[in-house]
Structure formats: C-alpha cells, structure tokens
Point group: C2
DNA sequence: GTCTTGACAAGAATCATTCTTAAGTGGTAT
DNA sequence: ATACCACTTAAGAATGATTCTTGTCAAGAC
C-alpha cells in the first residue's frame, strides 16, 4: 500500500477503503458496487468521492476502466494486458488470460498508430445456461 | 429496401430516412449524429423516434450497436463479423476486417457458452497524430 | 373502408457520471 | 509540534445519454 504514496496522491481513509476493496477483486465491479460496499464502513461517503477516486486511480495507472458492459463502466485492479468474457444475461465479467496475436492489417497499421487492443468475448455463463 | 418488409415491421418515412442514412455508412454514427442528419428532412422528428427505430432495427438484426466509445453508443449497419479501431483523441471509429483466430482457453470455453467476440483496437488516427 | 398493431411527437423521467462549492485533512516543510 | 496548502471530501446540483409515457396517428391486413 505504501507504494501508492507519491507526489499529490494522498492516502485518505476513504481512498484506502476503495483500494482495499479493489485489490485482487476479480468481479469487475461498477462504481455503484464499490459505493455500496465502502459505504458500510464509511456511511457518510458520497458517490462523487467514489468517482473522484476511481478517476484518480485510473489516471495514475493503478486501475483500468472497462466499457465491455454497455450499461455501466466497470473497474479492474488488474492493469496487466488481458481480455474479458461477459455473460449477456447476468452481465458477469470474467478474465480471459491468454496472449492472442492480433494485429491490424499493414496498411491501416501504418496510417493509424495502434497502441493496444482488447478482446471482448460474449456468451452465456454456467449459471445462466 | 423491400427486403426489410416483414411481419410487424412498418416502413414509415422516418424509418426509411434513418435506414437510408445508415445504409453503407462507415462512420459508426451515434444516435445524435443520426438525429441531426435526419432532422434536416424531417424537422419535426423526435430524438425518441431515432432511438425507437435504432432499437427496432437492432432487434431485427439489421444493424448492430457498439460500446467501443465509452461516451456514447455507436451504430453500425454492417452486421457481418468484424472489428474496430478507435482513435483515443477524436473518437473516430474505423473497421478492421480481418479474421482473427481467437478462442478462449478450453476450460473456460466448456463452462461458459461463448457466442462471439469483438476486438477493439485503440490508438491515434492519422489526423490526430 | 375498417381494424389492429405498431409508430409517431413531445416531453417527462431515469440513471450514470460529472461538476460545483464550501469545509476538511494529509503530508511536507518549518 | 505547528502551519500551510494542495488535494480531498460531502452534498447536492447539473449534465447528458437513453428510456419511458401518453395521446394521437397511420401502415398494412382483411
Ligand atoms: Mn479483468
Ligand atoms: Mn463497423
Ligand atoms: Zn450469466
Ligand atoms: Zn483522431
């Protein structure tokens, strides 16, 4: 946790609670999921504080935000390059850790500077089948 | 255009205008883009009508909606399987037509019924570079 | 022509996210 | 230990995309 201390990044109790909740969390929670959980410990916490912290954490590269669920943004403490699988029914998101070789065709690649890629798989999870 | 006539699918002038705008459109427009354009011909058209029609067209499989731009939904008349490349600066979305071999690892694949996949590439377009 | 089932316009409502403002606090320097 | 200041917070308002509601209308079926 100490490694997060840096210039202009203050470790407040609310922020620590959010970071603890996210640390190792594989559920790809939404801002609301985080809010509902952290509020148990900090009943006065505001929704805006959650968003502020998520944005700050994202800026600093400690978490990433996913647009795989069209209904709400999901947050992921795992910033290593990996992919996702979403259940179209219950919207559960799980990791797909595999190194796929995907490169855009050469002619597009030269004109457009490709910085990365993300694969979203969709389907039905075991519970929803 | 006649091929769209089917049970419970009425061809109204507004709908035809939306379909004409989308037909062959490679810009992946948002609902607002579509609204602003079609309104030129139908000044009384409502935003809700655009959304109603997009949802109906999507249900019938004539268009697909993309969540690649986290700020707004984009619509694509090309329903064939293809991928996308988004410019992180101007949010331009272009097609990537290539057949990548991506399959989730066996153990996930059996538990989870994978129905499809979509690759989003991100980077900087020629104009924004 | 009549009927039925969508489709329409208009605007209200919803919901996620962002912004604003005033008050509070962590971390650094003194 | 104290003071200071930039960053953070809470609270709520604002925004913006999307969905819902309601009364009216019209396409296509018969
Ligand atoms: Mn993940
Ligand atoms: Mn496309
Ligand atoms: Zn499921
Ligand atoms: Zn660009």
């Amino acid at each position: 946790m100490e490694r997060y201390r840096e210039k202009g990044f203050k470790l407040t109790p609310q922020r620590i609670a959010i970071m603890k909740f996210l640390e190792g969390n594989k559920n790809h929670p939404s801002a609301e999921d985080i809010y509902l959980y952290v509020r148990k410990t900090f009943p006065t916490m505001s929704f805006a504080t959650v968003y502020n912290n998520l944005e700050t954490l994202r800026e600093k590269g400690h978490i990433s935000s996913l647009s795989i669920d069209p209904e709400r943004r999901r947050y992921d403490p795992d910033t290593s390059s990996h992919h996702h699988l979403i259940c179209l029914k219950c919207k559960m998101v799980v990791d797909v850790h595999a190194d796929f070789k995907v490169n855009v065709p050469e002619e597009q690649n030269t004109a457009f500077e490709v910085l990365g890629s993300h694969i979203e798989f969709y389907g039905t999870c075991p519970e929803c089948k």
